[in-house]
């Protein structure tokens, strides 16, 4: 202990050794150091035994963090179960999940609000270094860029055991601290972290000057100039003039530079020889075609979905629309109806109100950036005759900021958030949309990330595997972020000069835009705005609600999202098809098997009959999907009750059952949560011996009983009834018009279940009921979920009984699959609702466009009408009953 600031008595040197020995025998002699050590022991022991974590979860890892508090792992043993909602009372920040730029200012602020001594655990690969989302334009590559981290826990996500180990490591670290050199007692140390700001891009206030300098030099543009750009393909044309070479056109564009090793790898994967040279995409399209004239791009069968209206029906519909709204209104393009923008609203109104099959349900809406246009796609279905899916296409100008399409907001309210998303990601304006603002990124963000010409800060190449990561000899290896002129994770538009406007007070995500006041009382009361989230105990992740309240009555509500936007779609367009499976796991991280299922179906649809899964694989898929449904509903019911104020008890009992299901997943797939188990045409591995018996045991002995238990203790509980009945009512018409899906839609008495409406896989063989609720209130949504678990158990029993032996893949395992050019929209009934995958393939190894229709995101559209007039306590319950998962909301 050589600390000069502490004056030590020097008597130990004066007294002679004999006397000292004598003294030590009879008197308690200690030195200042020893005394301090004793103080240290007590001081450290107090902190190590009472680490109260901040109740704060970012993404998938947060689920495992909650599981750590459940009965199987029980973090309470270490005295660390007291999760505090307020940072003022917390000692430990567990950064559990992907840190996005949008969220970073909040995290820094929370950290600053925590009192010293405070500790940070970086949980999982994302928090530690960006993890799988590292290349995302909205992802911070590691929390340690901003906060001092005490313990890193690897894993994606780390298991609860790993978190406990991390906690023990932290305790060891605390044991080694000394009161004399604890940094928080030194007055001169400024421990506050400068809060980064959301400017043109996230800016660390410490590096503003450097960034300004580099922006002025235009280094980003210089770097981008010689990067390989992604190629664009032309939009599909009416049947007669289908462009056969479109697949090859895309290939040609990549050959702008001399062929490297990685190009060879890629080209080989596509089964082609590398073209010698080429220039821009359209011009070069002929070159490769000339090089090998025999090869013709394979096209997938044109159909929007596995179950749809059919060619005949579509022609009939087109003829009817032409007759009604004037000739030339629509033309059939690749099994979809191409509509002129000015006629879009009229067509939609006709489809909704007058068509024999009333298309009252806007299933999905997305956009594709083609070479010559931006196409907006609409998938419509009918709740009266489900399974008659049709696709509308609208095309608009390709140039950035030029696109303009009439909004369908007034016809289908479900278009609200989806149109905003297209605006945010593609820059297409929707005329007539009342509130066209960015939804996932922040206002003032300078780019439209899903446009093909957007090169993100970490941009390395149009498709993985990135050449810079392939070891092409010693000394050649570098990572793109190392050569990014703005350092890691930063991109500021050229010509940006307004550096002074960046202050930590500004948060473009937080501008509340609320409708005018509704008069609830004639009393002269003032209203005020409460910003709930993004860190709040009941928002199920980093979701934010701007509430305008009069007393406790809600008079305005705006959801603010994007805090978890981790660029799923952009990354999905650079992954090969197979590489994208683990990313779908992380969409709705409670239902990874279900997400896999939907994605597998979409690509299998493109691949055609070659990839039809064998019988056994189909059964395994159904078993996994239904187990997932039970696990997800268990979680949802438990946490709904938690939101209603029953402190974790129902939730932890629900988690017990979920753990058993996760055990089954782990046994079959190797991972608890992120299973990555499905493959195109089957599943990754066969079930291990004994799995079926164990599964049967879990279903018969545990799950049924647990459902009964929930029913017995919760369904008739006075307070539950009081809190749930008549709260957050969504009428059937509203539910359909707002495009809600899953249990939320069915609780409003609309029997729309994809498993029945458009049976995929082998769901048509099973006997189960589609559960609906009579009133569409909070209670019905709870009860529908409860009954759906029973139905799932029913399906599981049948599937486990009937599962045949046999292969699990149609061919042999392949690491690079061939997907012909084409377009597919597949949908599955995920626990949260209709999960849709829209994939456009250009014949190369990765998707040209990849979009996820996420039920959590679209269900949120209906949050505002459900909440108005209720109280803050109800908002929490209603949000809980929507059962959102932020990984899927923000993607």
């Amino acid at each position: 202990m050589a600390n000069p600031t502490i004056s030590r008595p020097e008597w130990s040197t004066v007294i002679d050794s004999v006397l000292q020995k004598e003294l030590e025998q009879h008197v308690l002699v200690t030195s200042w150091d020893k005394l301090l050590n004793m103080v240290d022991t007590v001081y450290n022991w107090g902190r190590r035994s009472s680490l109260w974590p901040l109740g704060f979860g970012l993404a998938c890892c947060a689920i495992e963090m909650i599981c750590t508090a459940s009965s199987r792992f029980d973090i309470a043993r270490f005295g660390a179960e007291v999760f505090r909602g307020s940072p003022r009372q917390a000692d430990l920040m567990i950064v559990s999940g992907t840190v996005t730029k949008t969220m970073m200012p909040m995290i820094a602020r929370l950290y600053d609000q925590m009192p010293e001594p405070k500790y940070v655990i970086s949980m999982g690969a994302c928090a530690t270094g960006g993890g799988p989302f590292k290349e995302g334009y909205n992802v911070v590559s590691g929390i340690d860029k901003y906060l001092p981290v005490d313990v890193y826990i690897p894993g994606c996500p780390p298991t609860p055991q790993a978190l406990l180990n991390g906690l023990i490591m932290l305790q060891k670290k605390i044991d080694g601290e000394h009161i004399t050199n604890a940094p928080w007692y030194r007055g001169d140390v400024e421990r506050d972290i400068p809060i980064p700001v959301l400017g043109p891009d996230l800016i660390d206030l410490r590096t503003v000057e450097l960034t300004a300098e580099r922006t002025a030099l235009g280094l980003a543009e210089v770097r981008e100039a010689d990067l390989p750009k992604p190629s664009k393909i032309p939009a599909p044309q009416p049947e007669a003039e289908v462009v056969d070479a479109s697949g090859n056109g895309a290939v040609g564009a990549e050959a702008a530079k001399p062929p490297s090793k990685i190009d060879l790898i890629r080209a080989k994967a596509r089964g082609e020889t590398l073209p010698a040279a080429g220039s821009a995409a359209p011009a070069a399209a002929a070159a490769p075609a000339a090089a090998k004239p025999a090869k013709k791009g394979k096209r997938a069968l044109a159909r929007p979905s596995l179950v749809w209206l059919g060619d005949e029906g579509l022609k009939e519909l087109a003829a009817r629309l032409d007759a009604e709204l004037g000739a030339g209104t629509v033309s059939i393009v690749q099994a979809g109806l191409l509509v002129a923008p000015e006629k879009l609203v009229a067509v939609a109104l006709y489809l909704r109100d007058k068509n024999p099959i009333k298309y009252d349900y806007l299933a999905s809406l997305q956009s594709v950036h083609y070479e010559d246009c931006i196409e907006i796609n609409y998938q419509f279905d009918s709740t009266i005759r489900p399974g008659s899916l049709i696709e509308l296409r609208v095309r608009t100008a390709e140039a950035e900021g030029q696109g303009e399409v009439p909004s369908l907001y007034q016809v289908y309210r479900g278009a609200d958030f989806q149109e905003r998303e297209v605006f945010d990601m593609m820059g297409v304006r929707f005329t007539g949309h009342p509130e066209l603002k960015r939804i996932l990124m922040w206002e003032g963000y300078a780019y439209y990330p899903l446009r093909k010409d957007f090169l993100e800060p970490y941009y390395e190449a149009p498709a993985k595997v990135f050449p810079s990561r392939v070891d092409e000899g010693f000394g050649q290896h570098f990572r793109a972020e190392e050569v990014n002129p703005h350092g890691t994770n930063l991109k500021v538009p050229q010509g940006f000069t307004d550096w002074a406007s960046l202050s930590s007070g500004s948060d473009p995500k937080g501008q509340p835009l609320l409708p005018g006041a509704i008069d609830v009382q004639e009393l002269g009361t003032d209203q005020f705005i409460v910003s709930m989230g993004p860190q709040h105990p009941s928002t199920h992740g980093v979701f934010r609600l701007n509430l305008r309240v009069d007393g406790e009555t809600i008079v305005g509500l705006k959801p603010v999202m994007g805090y978890m936007h981790r660029n799923h779609e952009k990354i999905g367009e650079r992954n090969t098809f197979l590489m994208n499976f683990p990313f779908t796991d992380r969409l709705d991280y409670l239902t990874s098997m279900g997400n896999n299922f939907g994605y597998a179906l979409a690509v299998e649809q493109l691949m055609g009959e070659d990839s039809r899964p064998p019988e056994r694989a189909e059964y395994i898929r159904i078993i996994m999907a239904e187990l997932t449904r039970i696990a997800s509903h268990m979680w949802s019911i438990g946490f709904l009750l938690n939101d209603l104020g029953a402190f974790f008890t129902p939730a932890l009992y629900a988690i017990e059952e979920r753990e058993l299901i996760l055990d089954l997943f782990e046994w079959a797939a190797g991972s608890r949560m992120m299973c990555n188990y499905f493959r195109f045409g089957g599943v990754a591995f066969d079930l291990p011996p004994g799995w079926i018996e164990r599964c049967r045991g879990v279903v018969n002995d545990r799950i049924d009983k647990k459902i009964d238990e929930f029913d017995r203790y919760l369904s008739q509980n006075e307070i539950v009834l009081d809190r749930c009945k008549g709260v957050g009512v969504l009428t059937p018409d509203q539910a359909i018009n707002y495009s809600t899906a899953g249990p939320v839609l069915r609780a409003s008495n609309v029997a729309y279940d994809i498993r029945r409406a458009a049976p995929y896989s082998i769901y048509d063989r099973f006997d189960f009921d589609v559960i609906t609720g009579p009133n569409g209130d909070l209670y019905d949504r709870y009860y529908v979920r409860l009954l759906e678990m029973r139905e799932s158990a029913k399906i599981l029993k049948q599937a486990v009984r009937d599962i045949p032996d046999g292969p699990i893949l149609p061919g042999k395992k392949s690491y690079q699959i061939k997907v012909p050019a084409g377009e597919a929209y597949s949908r599955v009934e995920n626990p949260k609702g209709e999960l849709g995958y829209y994939v456009v393939a250009d014949g190369s190894g990765s998707a040209y466009r990849y979009h996820v229709r996420s039920p959590s995101f679209i269900n949120l559209t209906a949050l505002e009408p459900m909440c108005l007039g209720h109280t803050i306590a109800d908002v929490v319950g209603i949000l809980g009953s929507l059962d959102i998962v932020l990984g899927e909301v923000d993607r």
Partner: protein
């Protein structure tokens, strides 16, 4: 006179330190109860180094940490009120103990287990002081300059004021029957006749419900309701200031449990006169204290058990319950009791 003063001071010292120690352990007990309610183990590591089992040192660790933690006073708070609020919360909870008998009290006893013995309006005093606690919460919410804290304070002021009424009226029946406001007399009456819960079942239920609301415990913990208001009135408080609110809450729980037992479960007496109330002596006094403590412990466990079982009421339901059900019911109960007492009294 001096000795009396010293005696009282000693008593205060003993009671306060025991109360604070108990409160610390109540938090531990609550965490253990929560663990058992949720099929978990609960804290069991703290103290393992010294061979102390079951994590029994957990409260000490929490205390050591809290005391040594940085005490953040945000820049935007109203400083004097912000500092005052936790003091009020804990002081109001503490001085209510002055008239709570911890054991047999009376002129003949060898020792009065009460700080201020023989005050004949003891119960009025408890309620008078108990209602002061609301100032702590309101001030905390107001001074924090935080919206969640503000909402918490609004809720708690309405809630605590509303529930004062049924709480006060629910015990009046018992007071009428026993003919005294003195807790000692009420216990003695119950010992002679029958436990209060038998003669005043409605009064007991009203008292129990109101007591939950008064102590801000689930299902009535709206002022802090974590899922809605993050931490409610104490959102901005850190370190020991937050700890003081915590202690205040548990002190309230103890007071309320004592009152319930004294008013409705016969205090230190056992049913069927198993324990002779007239017997004076050291052993008997200790035994009576034990009986009382046992009953109080059961009551506290009951309050905790409820917390980990039920969901929370909604604010307007809570108000409905107070004004539309509890208050009319307590009025009816009071009038009916008064009439019956009068009839029996006049018929004698």
């Amino acid at each position: 006179m001096l000795w009396v003063a010293i005696g009282i001071l000693l008593k205060i010292l003993v009671v306060v330190s025991i109360a604070l120690g108990t409160v610390a352990y109540l938090i531990y007990v609550e965490r253990k109860v929560a663990a058992y309610a949720q099929d978990r183990v609960g804290p069991n590591r703290a103290g393992k180094e010294l061979g102390i089992p079951f994590g029994l040192l957990q409260p000490l660790a929490d205390g050591a940490k809290m005391v040594l933690k940085e005490d953040v006073i945000p820049g935007y708070v109203s400083r004097p009120l912000y500092m005052l609020a936790p003091v009020i919360a804990i002081v109001a909870a503490m001085i209510g103990f002055a008239v709570v008998p911890f054991g047999p009290v009376g002129p003949n006893q060898i020792m009065n287990f009460q700080i201020a013995p023989n005050i004949n309006i003891g119960i009025l005093y408890v309620f008078a002081i108990g209602s002061l606690a609301v100032y702590g919460i309101i001030l905390a919410g107001w001074a924090s300059n935080n919206k969640y804290a503000f909402l918490g304070a609004l809720r708690s002021s309405a809630q605590l004021i509303s529930y004062e009424i049924p709480l006060g009226m629910s015990i009046l029946g018992m007071v009428l029957i026993a003919g005294s406001l003195d807790l000692n007399q009420i216990v003695n009456w119950q010992d002679r006749r029958v436990w209060g819960v038998v003669v005043q079942p409605i009064g007991f239920l009203l008292f129990l419900v109101s007591a939950f609301a008064e102590t801000n415990r689930l299902p009535f913990d709206l002022p802090e309701s974590e899922q809605e208001l993050v931490g409610g009135y104490h959102t901005e408080y850190s370190a020991m200031k937050f700890g003081m609110f915590f202690l205040g809450e548990y002190l309230h729980v103890i007071t309320v449990s004592y009152l319930t037992v004294l008013l409705f479960f016969g205090g230190w007496s056992l049913p069927f006169h198993l324990l002779n109330q007239n017997q004076i002596g050291f052993l008997s006094a200790v035994f009576k204290v034990m009986v009382l403590l046992f009953k109080v412990a059961l009551m506290i466990l009951f309050i905790m058990w409820v917390r980990w079982t039920l969901p929370r009421f909604r604010y307007d339901h809570l108000m409905d319950l107070a004004w539309k059900s509890l208050i009319p019911l307590s009025l009816v109960n009071l009038v009916a009791t008064a009439a019956i007492v009068q009839l029996i009294y006049s018929s004698r």
